[in-house]
Symmetry: D2
Subunit: 470 residues, 4 copies
Amino acid sequence: MGTMRTLISNGTVVTASTAVEADVIIDGEHIVGVVEPGTAGDGFDRVIDATGRYVIPGGVDMHTHMELPVSGTTSADTYETGTRAAAIGGTTTIVDYAGQTRGSTLAAGLAEWMGRAEGHSYIDYGFHMMVTDVHEGTLAEFPQMMGVGVTTFKLFTAYPGVNLSDDRQILAAMQVAASIGATIMMHAENGIAIDLLRDEAVARGETDPIHHLLTRPASMEAEAVHRVVALAEIAGCPLVIVHISSQDALAEAVVARDGGLPVFAETCPQYLWLAQEDLPEGFEAAKFVCSPPLRRRSEGHQAALWSGIDTGRVDAVATDHCPFTWEQKEAGRGDFRKIPNGLGVVEHRVDLVYQGVVEGWIPLTRWIDVIAETPAKISGLYPKKGTIAPGSDADIVIYNPTGSHVLSARTHHMNLDYSVFEGAEVGGSAETVLSRGEVIVDRGVFVGEPGRGKYLVRGTNALLPERIVE
Amino acid sequence: MGTMRTLISNGTVVTASTAVEADVIIDGEHIVGVVEPGTAGDGFDRVIDATGRYVIPGGVDMHTHMELPVSGTTSADTYETGTRAAAIGGTTTIVDYAGQTRGSTLAAGLAEWMGRAEGHSYIDYGFHMMVTDVHEGTLAEFPQMMGVGVTTFKLFTAYPGVNLSDDRQILAAMQVAASIGATIMMHAENGIAIDLLRDEAVARGETDPIHHLLTRPASMEAEAVHRVVALAEIAGCPLVIVHISSQDALAEAVVARDGGLPVFAETCPQYLWLAQEDLPEGFEAAKFVCSPPLRRRSEGHQAALWSGIDTGRVDAVATDHCPFTWEQKEAGRGDFRKIPNGLGVVEHRVDLVYQGVVEGWIPLTRWIDVIAETPAKISGLYPKKGTIAPGSDADIVIYNPTGSHVLSARTHHMNLDYSVFEGAEVGGSAETVLSRGEVIVDRGVFVGEPGRGKYLVRGTNALLPERIVE
Amino acid sequence: MGTMRTLISNGTVVTASTAVEADVIIDGEHIVGVVEPGTAGDGFDRVIDATGRYVIPGGVDMHTHMELPVSGTTSADTYETGTRAAAIGGTTTIVDYAGQTRGSTLAAGLAEWMGRAEGHSYIDYGFHMMVTDVHEGTLAEFPQMMGVGVTTFKLFTAYPGVNLSDDRQILAAMQVAASIGATIMMHAENGIAIDLLRDEAVARGETDPIHHLLTRPASMEAEAVHRVVALAEIAGCPLVIVHISSQDALAEAVVARDGGLPVFAETCPQYLWLAQEDLPEGFEAAKFVCSPPLRRRSEGHQAALWSGIDTGRVDAVATDHCPFTWEQKEAGRGDFRKIPNGLGVVEHRVDLVYQGVVEGWIPLTRWIDVIAETPAKISGLYPKKGTIAPGSDADIVIYNPTGSHVLSARTHHMNLDYSVFEGAEVGGSAETVLSRGEVIVDRGVFVGEPGRGKYLVRGTNALLPERIVE
Amino acid sequence: MGTMRTLISNGTVVTASTAVEADVIIDGEHIVGVVEPGTAGDGFDRVIDATGRYVIPGGVDMHTHMELPVSGTTSADTYETGTRAAAIGGTTTIVDYAGQTRGSTLAAGLAEWMGRAEGHSYIDYGFHMMVTDVHEGTLAEFPQMMGVGVTTFKLFTAYPGVNLSDDRQILAAMQVAASIGATIMMHAENGIAIDLLRDEAVARGETDPIHHLLTRPASMEAEAVHRVVALAEIAGCPLVIVHISSQDALAEAVVARDGGLPVFAETCPQYLWLAQEDLPEGFEAAKFVCSPPLRRRSEGHQAALWSGIDTGRVDAVATDHCPFTWEQKEAGRGDFRKIPNGLGVVEHRVDLVYQGVVEGWIPLTRWIDVIAETPAKISGLYPKKGTIAPGSDADIVIYNPTGSHVLSARTHHMNLDYSVFEGAEVGGSAETVLSRGEVIVDRGVFVGEPGRGKYLVRGTNALLPERIVE
């Protein structure tokens, strides 16, 4: 007995390159054809009418933290609640961050995260590996990780005593990564200096959440980018600067890339749309606490990030999804240093970047590029994920370009009792979502089965010329 | 009676995004489907086996000069000889430069060029308009030109008394262009200052062709780029810097784009592969005389341009094809200022950029991007030209990635009795070429009919967000 | 019978290097000693008590336009009124701009200006030469000019049809200048492009003086600086960018100097203190019309210029003194293009830069450097002018650092019936001024004789290492 | 009974501003007058004829390490041998680096160094304080240090485990320094990353001295400069980057200063004249081992540093004098990491910078500025030291501008059995040297008494505008 054959007809297929009127033929889990409307013939088990809709590759969110243990608590979305919310918002792949426990192995960390995700995720998922303890032992595990599809390793210049690696460790990890074709993902903030500013603020009695923002200056993000770029150049190592929040940091990454280095820039919807100016008074601002922090709109950061997407200087928009409930955020009342860092964004990423198209910041194709194609390439998932082409997984979103709706905690699906985007109106919406050929959101109704998502064995960063990855 | 149906089977379809194993279905002049190998069904009039081959969009050369009248002579390739050579090399679209005769109208210039091309070209063609005399009258013609598909206007900061527009004229033209969604193409060299250096050199008795290169310093190219970027910023005008030859000029364009301006960079194969160091002694170097000139390899220009392609800082590779026979070049013996400027390159562009893939300078997808997709986008021809997708013209090249061959005047098809690439070995070759579904090169044999190429009514530059072209 | 011997005692001698308690011994026209207070001995014809005062070198204003013929009128200060005002304000040397009449020779221009100044100036004066017509003939005069002490030649990228030289002329003049050790002074604004913006504004009915400012964007000043720096680099020519008004233009000059080029930056008090925000409504703003124009304070230009003085990135503060009475300004009512360009500043320069010391922008020594020492060096007058040292001319100002006073047309001495600084309070004031040993301002009372000022045969720019001026 | 009165007659007095023919009058330890030749009168106890000579301020070497305990040994020059050599070479003031012993106090460190110098130095001396252990206790000592004339504090981003402070410590120290008007001196190299490169090299068997150079890339120096500038900007702290060796590092300091930050640049004669290309084969290269290391001449570092002096982008030339005998250097045979770092330079600094005048790199005045005036200003010793003016200490060198001689271990006075400048011919030489009015070198013969040098209570950095040091 054959596989199920699906036709998505009469839509406008949008990829990172262009928008064309075309029908998409799906056989089982894969796309088998993209053809002129009406030429696909008959014999389909299912026909989805996409008239007036964009047919886009399912979103690839290359930066999430589901069930992340952090400072005595755990981020509020499980692989189940988080991936359901992602899917409803048009994201069909996440690359989550597995983490090494200090003192233990990368393999153990991966196994732990695998265990948490397996049987729970509604969509396909992969893992980056957060290396919290760079030494000969963990470096020796890098090739094994590559062997099981973990081709990206994350390091931190922030969070001393928790995640921070020093420059020797960073350089050593970059050397190993370079030698095996892996890519380093970097949280770039000078956490050592920032911690002094934080402690000083608290000592002065400045304990409100706003001081979280004020003690993490953009110059300390830019500094860290400049530094890790210099280290990466010595190592010859591909580098992704994750969650860039400021024009200063972006400028450092851009100059590196201008100079030919394999340095890539990721930002997040929160840095594109939210700003320091948006914070509520007092402790309620804790909802907006993340690292790097939101920046001042009056300084031009948000406009610079949008411009960066437009010009291809920003490569990817991920979420750094790491939600904490209000109760969890309360832990930092009286001391902003204890507020768990992170926002809930995974459900809204596709919409929030599309809003940049609506408002004229970016062309349509750049939307798809930063939410799907380039994240898939960087993550080594392309063209399996991130595009609509024969052979690709049938991860497809039928997107209503005029599906205006309002974001709210009352309606969202993330496990979060508030929303930093509360009340924001966005112009489009994901209506129907397919994951490997299976409809998991049907005209707005979630119909997926938990655990149907599969672990993705990822390849290497596709943005590198051969001479680098050889 | 139906149209002819063609299947290109078993090849690897390469676009600017990716390479996938897929069959391409062509119905008449258009592509109607890209499907998984073996799933296209039967009933094809013709099946082209592309096993082991790349199936790529036909090349788009956005910068050619066929039959260009210049200083009392005419560039050596006609639309017939030039487009045949282009097709053999894998290029299926050219955007040639029509020109206004000083004192006459743009419309008259376009008509003249149209007359020369019509009935002669083997492949589809469009025209940019060289405006040699910017004034109220010619500016008033811009909208009409847009109406007939001429959406790009070329200005020069070089060649005083012939093509040069002064900064007032440039700014005025940019203002009009910006207001109607047109793009300005700019030959950026400070011709006024350069002419002094040229005259001084001749006065000193330095009359050999090498002095053509020595009197056009890279700083005078970079200066002009900087200047026209500043003017374009005031006008809010999209700008393409054509035939960038130096890292200095590229750096100016890159910084402009980093800053969010719609400034795009074109280079040519000659600037990627040839250098001042390659010039023969004495007057034979006249073969290599073009403007901007070849640069010193030891200064890093060629490596910087390759890196620019790799990182997306160079948007397009065109040819500035403008060949002159040895007899024509002889006009400048004894005075390099009289050597007709220009090289014959149109046949080799696809191969010469592919060679960058072979040598590890760029990934495969960047090859297709700079030779086809982005030139088509800038020229307002995308997705009709420049990609392989349903609805696109069936301009397709079956490219043998291991089709190594040697470039030579003995074997090339350009109307030129020498080659600046004589003896160069390139790793791949175009085997079979389709133009709008018609095979015009069949396994290396040219089988096209003259005059089958059609004039292309072009749209506007597709790289601009709506807010710019509004 | 001997010369008159003067002692200035008990003051604080301030130079560009430092402030020391010292007595200054003057014999006739020259300084013969700087000695520890009380050690000069007896036998002085005159003792000036400078207790509580700064004893500073007389100011050197390297950019004035007395009696300048411009668009059918003449700048309002004669060499008599202008130099009296200068002296009262603490300036004892001016370098005015002689000008070639188009079609005539440099020699004739110099003779004309010499004739106007001779017998009228109260203080010593030199001339730069404005070359309005660069051709073989005028270039051939450069060495003669050097021979009579005119070692600096001014060119314009502004004012097409009046003063503008094209890039060929500029480069040619720079080549000649470089070959003889002369320095080029450059008015850097892209006048050709600016003129279009001006004409367009008027065509739109935007005729008020504010449009003078709005049609001369800072980017067009920066562009011109970038361009002439590129030309100067080719020629190997020393270059002074005069009257820099914007941070953009300053940045271009600074980058050039960072790169080792002999490029120097001059600004003026009006650009340090006045801004677009200060303009009165309507036509009264004509008082503030000068070129380059005043810039927006909110954009940071003024702060950047002060910072530039502090860090040594700005070399000199001159005035571009070129006053026009209200009646003269009236010529531009209804068409801002007809407003004579220029402000009256020569009297206040020393005070207005000192005010930067009072407000903490710059250290005391930088004050003296930019108002006296470095202008004297650039002008080839050092150490005759610009410092207090044995052998130097006894051009000395006894400056009261707490001599607060208010600037006003009611009290100033310039031939001008209004003041752009009306009502501004400055913290210090020149009390007694000596020119070549002669007291010409005695505790605020002007006592000089007209015509006592002498023409200065200037040497070459002293800021250049030998390898450049060879 | 009165003090001794000395006249230096008929010389050319050269300061950072200019060169004038003048006589210098000295009374006891101080200069009391600078007067026109022949006007000083009679009654001098001693007249030094300086006909044909430069009369310059005694050199101020703001970076020396006499008797420095380092890795189990001690730098080879004592305060006696080192200051004698300095004096013979024309340097009359050193600012040496006292150091805190880890675990002990700054006060104890200062006392220890004071003890070593007192009674031994031939010339006046001050101390910077190397803080090796930044914590609340040592920070609390900063004001006390200021009180005893130690106004500059040195930190290291190099030498982990020995001198390195982390970014928190650096920022904390900068905050304290900023609050009290102190200046931070920074050894800027990323020692943490460099140590990995060193260990890797040795692990690969690359143990020769050349690998010391190869494992300290210029990018790691530039990175550290960029980082500490960012930290200083947050703290509002004045910063001197000591011993800049590369154009990359200089560029970072220059950009900071361009931006208005109080960041100053020091280099050393070894970085101006010596290069990687000069190293002998094998272990003999150990003589040239210092940190930062010598750079490749072919990359342009030396030319960039000279250009930086010319343009005022380099503020001071000190020596980082820290000599080790050949026997001491032998400790690193077989492992370059064990070679004591440091060169013997203190005797030749004045000559080696003067050689830049001879060869046309810099004007005469820049020589005096970087060897005397600006180091004195930065060190808070101006105008007591660093100039020739009434009230200044009579630290004067009679310099023969044509006193060509050859540098050699056979003739130098440093306690070093080899010379990295062996055989170099320099064009000038110090003939007679006065320290506080006392002749200590008389026409080349050293006649000073040990212990005559006095400790200098230094003020704050004079290059800062008031608003910074408030």
